[in-house]
């Protein structure tokens, strides 16, 4: 599944990214599966789970022990000025730590489902999609590369933030920061499992679309088409939607938590920045100007990537219906083929490729826009609280 799909540099980078992600997940213990190359299946491994629990617990303990060293002078001033900021910060820290443990717990709890889903995806890939030329999946490649880049950037920005804001460097600080980064890496990789799976689903749906388009072209050129091909594509589509549904069910709580966490981190950092700069009227030095905006930018980049992949998959699912409409242009369509197309379009109208987390919202650009506007409003409310803090 991870072999390079072409000879280009891009494809090599993609396979390298995917392999690195897999390796990182194994090392940090968040991917408790072993791969049996003979049967091409993943198997759950209890030992890997125990290993993962130990590693993560150790990292969290390290963070908690070395926490006090990472508090910077600027943050202390902000907290003195505005006790609300301190409360929010405390709540956020606790929630972040809880998030790590929750993600791990849920990944282990649902590992059976994940195993089945991944096995089915690999099976689909091997049996049906292996034979299609892979050079044209540039959106897939781009996304994988961006995701790898965003993980690296997040780590780098966290390092910069912690090391840059801290006044004194000592061993404890480095220990704390390293464990924090590793935990963050674990969270990011756990989330990226979901996104990589989604981008594979997108890839397969795109292939189905292309096959349908080929059928239309053949019909338009006057050749005949077998109804069984359409039925075969419909069965593939059905399976893909099914996999997608199960995938979303497994990862929905984690994704909601992660999204809320990142959004609130954004709001809070802007808020602290505003308090620091405007209310406390401190000098803006280069250090402050580079550190805080870059965390924001990296966070926003990561957030928009996660929305973009779901939106991409949703859009591709919508394109299936549009392509099916092209069959209207064909005169004198064979009755069996017409019926199969009709079944396919009825299926598409009932089941959509959409990502709904906990039934609360659909993940697409519209939701992303609304979340941005809402976070802006929350920022305004928070500023209001600070304004009257005489």
């Amino acid at each position: 599944m991870f072999r390079p799909s072409g000879s280009g540099l891009r494809q090599k980078l993609v396979s390298l990214t995917l392999k690195a992600a897999l390796l990182g997940s194994w090392i940090l213990g968040i991917f408790p599966f072993t791969f049996d190359s003979w049967t091409r299946k993943l198997h759950r491994s209890k030992w890997l789970m125990i290993y993962g629990v130990l590693v993560n617990a150790g990292l969290v303990a390290l963070i908690l022990c070395n926490d006090t060293e990472a508090e910077s002078q600027e943050r202390m001033e902000v907290f003195r000025r505005n006790p609300l900021a301190e409360q929010i910060n405390g709540v956020h820290d606790i929630l972040s730590l809880m998030m790590v443990s929750f993600m791990l717990f849920r990944a282990y709890w649902k590992s059976g489902d994940i195993e089945r889903i991944l096995n089915e995806q690999m099976d689909l890939n091997h049996r049906h999609f292996r034979h299609y030329p892979l050079e044209e999946w540039c959106s897939f490649d781009k996304f994988v590369l961006y995701k790898g880049l965003s993980i690296v950037l997040e780590l780098a920005s966290m390092l910069l933030l912690e090391l840059g804001m801290s006044p004194n460097y000592n061993r404890q600080l480095f220990l704390g920061v390293t464990s924090l980064c590793l935990v963050l890496l674990g969270v990011l990789l756990g989330v990226s499992h979901f996104h990589f799976a989604v981008v594979y689903v997108y890839r397969y749906v795109w292939t189905v679309n292309r096959e349908l388009l080929r059928l239309v072209n053949e019909l338009a050129a006057g050749r005949t088409v077998e109804a069984s091909r359409v039925d075969y594509l419909l069965s593939l589509y059905n399976r893909l939607l099914d996999i997608n549904g199960r995938l979303v069910k497994v990862y929905d709580y984690q994704m909601v938590w992660v999204m809320v966490n990142f959004l609130s981190a954004n709001i809070m950092s802007i808020y602290f920045f505003i308090i620091f700069v405007i209310s406390l009227k401190k000098e803006i030095d280069v250090k402050l100007l580079t550190i805080i905006p870059q965390t924001l930018i990296v966070n926003v980049f990561d957030f928009s990537l996660s929305i973009a992949v779901c939106d991409l998959a949703e859009r591709t699912g919508k394109q299936t219906s549009t392509i099916l409409k092209l069959f209207n242009d064909i005169e004198n369509l064979d009755e069996k083929v017409a019926r199969s197309i009709s079944d396919f379009s009825l299926f598409c109208s009932h089941r959509r490729l959409r990502f709904s987390h906990c039934g609360l919202f659909f993940v697409n650009y519209e939701m992303g826009f609304r979340m941005t506007i809402t976070s802006f409003m929350y920022l305004l409310f928070l500023i209001q609280f600070d304004f009257w803090n005489l």
Binding site: W206, L213, D311, S321, I323, E331, S345, Y365, G368, F387
Partner: protein, 457 residues
Amino acid sequence: MSPNTWVIEMPTEKSRSRPYPQRISPYGVHHPSRDAFTRTRDPPTAATPTKIVDHPVFEDIRTIMSVLKASGLMPIYEQVSDYEVGPPTKTNEFYSFFVRGVVHALTLFNIYSLFTPISAQLFYSYRETDNVNQWIELLLCILTYTLTVFVCARNTKSMLRIMNEILQLDEEVRRQFGANLNENFGFSVKFLVGIAVSQTYIIILKIYAVKGEITPTSYVLLAFYAIQNGLTATYIVFASALLKIVYIRFHFINQLLNGYTYGQQQKPKQKRNHNGHFRAALMDNFPEDSLFIYRMHNKLLRIYKGINDCCNLILVSFLGYSFYTVTTNCYNLFVQITAKGMISPNILQWCFAWLCMHVSLLALLSRSCGLTTREANATAQILARVYAKAKEYQNIIDKFLTKSIKQEVQFTAYGFFAIDNSTLFKIFSAVTTYLVILIQFKQLEDSKVDDSIPAQT
């Protein structure tokens, strides 16, 4: 992530093995009921390819097209024939590059001048926060225009493809029905004039507001500022005009289809409608017409989506800029009206001019998008009113309706939100919310200032 990656292999009409049905003269001559929408009384003669005639479609929006071509936002295409446009010649391409280069250079100069005291003459303020407001507004304006230029440069080929598709569609319609789908686009010229007038007015207001002698740099900056706003607005008017063109064609096929509905079929055949609308058509022609209509519908949907993809980012930034401008101008207006001191007529006029321009542009955009979207989604509804006894006809109807279940199209701004008739309302409710918050902040600030003065005495 180009959304249109699936269209690589779409067959053109030439690759079909069977040409579409030839139905030229018998229907054009013997059945005058087919002849709808004709403004000209000329018989539909086949245009000779060597004769270069003005395009019937883009004739209507010629003024706007020429403005956009001159400013490098549209490619200066070549007319290959009556119904085809080709890519621009090398000279024209070079001209477009040159204009865009000049624009980018001026943009860089503009940004540079914002951060240096060069532009201090132009951007005065009466309050600290209003300076920030002006800055953000200026930056948004620059961003919008630069984005427009970039996106237009990148989408040259797609724009040409869209225009070609529209022209091919017109050619087919003309061939089948002898109908000229012309329409009066006077609104585009009126808007152009309005934009020019308002920008000139704004420049004059700014000149009067500036204290002291105006340097040539300031003139340049001011002129560029007006050009930025004017051209962005012109592009929005152009997008609305394109949507109106698509609307007319959707309306045409809906009218065609309307002739087959049970309401029309039940009217007596002798009754003639003199308005030039489609009358009840013979049910016998339904299979052929339906095939034509389905094809046209798919093509028009593709054109609609193509226009959406071309304008996506520009619409996002323009709507953001517009929203911000409307909010700040309403706020400034409110501050002026309720100020305890003198009311400055300069600022009042400034605010009114901006508000008028942006509100009318937003209204135009919302209306065009809403009309076109509604018409595109109406085809399935009209088809649902066609009742036919023959099984074959019912299958034809079912074929389309099955594939149109829950397939409403939307004109979106990069997927962030849909633009239609309710957009204006949503923008205004958001503006009101932010205004209330801003005004309350201002009042708190005022009371803080007012109350700290007596405390110190």
